[in-house]
Amino acid sequence: MTTHLGVMILFAACVAAVFGTLLRDESSGQLRMAGRIFTALVVGAYGLGWLMYLAF
């Protein structure tokens, strides 16, 4: 769990759970919102990582 990817996924899951719960009131909406935030965080970080790797 102490790999960069593992910690990033754990962090993204926690943040997504809080924002999903905070921003929506019904369960299905909360799950959908959390899923979207989780995907955006993980894909965004992965994409940015690759961009920095290629650019620098």
Binding site: F11, A17, V18
Partner: protein, 142 residues
């Protein structure tokens, strides 16, 4: 003559729209002391439990990763801000300091991750406190 009110379960009362408005100051104080406690007070049990589990979990993960509980140092603005963010999680931060946790293992590979978890858990609790305050003040639906 006023009759004593019968105790009503928060979920049933919330469904009927009869939850007594919680005192905003007490709600914010409770939300600061314990993540999710503000939402529990205003009758949003499910949200309160999720916040309690996730934020306390993040804080414990931060400590387990060797993160540091920063002191208030005015000479170091970033350390000061980190300390303020960590103190946004009242009781967990206090208890961790009392049992001597959070000394910060700088040589640990997860040290910075630990700091991130500790700081972000506090910042997220600030948002949750604001949300609980809005609900208690009637600015947001229960």
């Amino acid at each position: 003559m006023a009759q004593p009110s019968k105790p009503v379960s928060p979920s049933a009362a919330s469904a009927a729209g009869t939850v007594r408005p919680a005192d905003p100051t007490i709600t914010v104080l409770a939300a600061w002391l314990m993540p999710g406690a503000g939402h529990l007070l205003v009758g949003q049990w499910r949200k309160g439990v999720i916040f309690l589990v996730v934020l306390t979990g993040m804080f414990l993960i931060g400590l387990a990763f060797g993160g540091r509980l920063f002191p208030f140092q005015l000479a170091e603005p970033l350390v000061f801000l980190a300390a303020a963010a960590e103190w946004a999680l009242g009781l967990p931060r206090l208890l961790a300091a009392m049992i001597g946790g959070g000394r910060g293992n700088v040589v640990s590979v997860t040290y910075e991750y630990g700091n991130t978890f500790l700081i972000v858990s506090g910042l997220l609790n600030l948002l949750i406190m604001l949300d609980a305050s809005d609900i208690a003040r009637g600015r947001k639906g229960r």
